[in-house]
């Protein structure tokens, strides 16, 4: 077990958002958190990573290091791609040379050509920036990677490439992943298990295991599964336009 959320409750300005939410993340497993926008996915992730202290409940982190990929790349505009990748290594106290080596290796791993290493974020495309953000997360050799709708602004093709990249890296380096998304197709492609959040119930209504292993499922199977689940009452809120808190 890597992470355990126990009876988490939270809200903003007296309005409850999450009530008694529990979730366990096992070694080497990727769990997707799906749900409609405004249901508290990002808040739950921020609680798990420690950016927000929950009002109720307990977070147990049974690991040393975590990393996070945000919805926006969140790169420092004044650092080159390579220095951005090394940014997470700053508190580690590694030598400059060592940081640069690690950054170069991770840049290569996410498919960033050497000619892009010294470019500033403003000179990179949206996809490239998100690759840099993933490389920054990989560089710290995390035990868990938190991902907050990291690919929602990318086109379908690029989305798949980067999803596969994250899944492959998780397998190779053995980290677990907590992957927030509102896209059921994405969740089915990358996850071992899917936790469904509901804004009506202010918490997780069901956790489902996806058959097969992430990265090995064929497109037909993903499509059929999403098709079938989209008529399922559990996922109704994802596809439903009514009763939304906008």
């Amino acid at each position: 077990m890597k992470l355990s959320l126990e009876g988490i409750g939270h809200g903003f300005l007296g309005r409850p958002l999450l009530e008694d939410v529990s979730l366990i993340l096992n070694d080497g497993e990727i769990v997707s958190l799906v749900g409609p926008s405004g249901c508290g996915k990002t808040t739950l992730l921020a609680i798990a990573v420690g950016l927000i202290d929950p009002l109720r409940g307990r977070v147990r982190r049974l690991y040393n290091r975590h990393a996070m990929v945000f919805q926006e790349p969140r790169l420092l505009p004044w650092l080159s791609a390579r220095d951005n990748i090394a940014y997470g290594l700053v508190p580690r106290g590694l030598s400059r040379l060592r940081c640069r080596d690690v950054a170069a290796a991770k840049a290569r791993a996410v498919g960033l050509g050497q000619m892009d290493w010294n470019k500033y974020p403003a000179e990179l495309s949206g996809g490239m920036r998100q690759r840099v953000a993933i490389a920054r997360a990989l560089a710290v050799q995390p035990d868990i990677m938190y991902l907050d709708e990291p690919f929602s602004s990318l086109d379908v093709g690029l989305k798949r490439i980067l999803q596969d990249l994250v899944v492959r890296m998780a397998r190779e380096e053995g980290f677990s992943g907590l992957f927030v998304t509102h896209d059921l197709v994405e969740a089915v492609r990358v996850a071992d298990r899917i936790a469904v959040l509901s804004s009506r119930h202010r918490g997780i209504v069901e956790v489902r295991t996806v058959p097969g292993r992430p990265g090995e499922r064929d497109e037909r199977m993903v499509f059929d599964l999403v098709e079938r689940w989209s008529r399922d009452a559990v996922f109704a809120e994802l596809f439903d336009g009514e009763g939304r808190c906008l």
Binding site: L51, F70, L76, W78, G88, V90, P91, Y120, A122, R136
Partner: protein, 265 residues
Amino acid sequence: MPRLGWLGRYLWGGWASATGIFCLFALWQFGSEVYGGFVLPTPLRTFAEIATIVQGPVFRDVAAQTCMRTFLGFALAAGLGGLAGAVAGYSVAAMRLLKPVVAVILSVPQISWIILVMIWFGATGTTPVITVTVAALPISFAGALEGVATRDRSLDAMARVYGVGPLRRFATITVPHLLSYLFPAWTITAGTAWKVAVMAELLANAGGIGGELATARTMFDIPQVTAWTVIVATFALITDYGILHPLRESLESWRRAGQPRDAAP
């Protein structure tokens, strides 16, 4: 190599600036021909006067005195204003307290400060320094306040996730952002510093370039007045284009990234 390229572009851009300045000289020449050389000495007459002044015995001491005072006043204004502004940017309570204070300081005429400080400190070199500090401080304060208040909190959250400590976060996230607010403020601060320093020297009878201007006034030596004016303006321009601009360029080279190649410096 990129630095050399930048220097080349910077100097080349100087041609355009030079053209503008020569247009100004042409206008000046025209004015002196219309109103007569006694009221407005020609540029040439002024430059001859400058040459005499520069070769004269007092120039070095007088110029050094004013430079020192301006620099001290600027450093105090930039330092204290920047520090107070940064603190106010972090703390809402401090901002509420300091903002009106600074607004009041800003609305007090500089001439009143000169008289007050003159009474407090006498006709010494302290008067111009304090006046410069008080006159220029609010601009630095406002710049730093705005810079810290508009820092990117999402980058801060990112750094916190990666375990970067508060000092490191300040240095790597807040400071680079702050600089882009401080440099324009410092440009204005420096310009104000020169003008106020000379004004304070003149009124407080505290020597320096202002003192020379006072003498020229009593002697009704108009070419002296225009000559010293051009000298002060030159010093101000050197501060801006010779020091602040290149400094900003070297610290903010990332800003030019992603912009069209021929964007003017």
